[in-house]
Symmetry: C2
Subunit: 210 residues, 2 copies
Amino acid sequence: MSFSRPASFSFIGSTRPMGPGDFIWLAALGCASRGPTTADAVCACIDHVAAGQWAPSAQLVCDCLDEMARARHLSYAHDGRYGLFSSTTQGFGILRMMLSLPIERPTTPLGQVGLRLKLAFLDLAQPEDRLQHLQDLIVAHREELARRPAPCESCQSPGCFGRMWGEHHTQSLRRDLELLERMRAMPQTQLTTRREGCSQDGLHINCILN
Amino acid sequence: MSFSRPASFSFIGSTRPMGPGDFIWLAALGCASRGPTTADAVCACIDHVAAGQWAPSAQLVCDCLDEMARARHLSYAHDGRYGLFSSTTQGFGILRMMLSLPIERPTTPLGQVGLRLKLAFLDLAQPEDRLQHLQDLIVAHREELARRPAPCESCQSPGCFGRMWGEHHTQSLRRDLELLERMRAMPQTQLTTRREGCSQDGLHINCILN
């Protein structure tokens, strides 16, 4: 009887949608892939990107960081405090896998968080993977739009204001889809280095640490 | 020692935000205020208005309906099946109170559901209350916009796509605010009868029963 394990394994994709545990891993590996970072910065990044839709406790984030460090996805700087960590080669591989996980319906609360975190770190994916992930998000949005109910004359509720808001919400979803299509059409050369992100096209850069 | 209760009490307002229990009461009283309705129609209305953000079980909806009927907020038709119910005078009063409850931050999942349900039945409020409720929603959206982080040049994460999506999301929030301001400016005469809702201004009417 042998307890030996295979020396390596290759990830062949997953169809399960992203869940809250994945969100923390994605944020931590994404932040660490841009350069040395801290637990505080990972929490601030999640708060900024999720924009109030979801907020894990600091303890849960630290537990995940600990698990990632023990699995050698993250490497702590030996500065005596163990506060600063970076991604490892293994960590980059896990990040690529995380970016490929499908999201739930993009209009659900967890779907929105997954979508935003995926976009926050999509510049770190390989160009061909990036296009595929954008295509997957576009398909999810088209399916969501197809689910919107057709207009009908015989409905009592919701009333006037509810129907205005519902129509407005469908238009917002169409604008989301259009933005994803514009992202897919962006020339790959517009994307800049891993550390800096891009600032052209009048895009604003938000500082998550303030 | 007396166990007697006061013969009546008056509601003097509440500052607690709307929660999931209130959502079912608001939807049931709102649907029943438009005319005789059923538990199925209330469930369909919640599914339609919440658009996937929140979905109570049918059993929970039925338990709430039962509670409302016992408190005489709803009145069942005596057709032998007890399937069809309407609102009572007491029920109209409770609906007005429900419409006055503040919502959580409008970008949170429960805040969105509360906002949509409130708008779905806002045409049933008294004109002066309606303007006040719209004003409250406008203030909540302005506060949310004020919370958005200021642009900053020194931020590493989120990357290019995340910043595009964040800016897009802020614009969506501005459009939500503009729509609420347009609703507040609508002449009260544009609102039609309780049963029919309004269909002018090119608004689409969605049938929740299909």
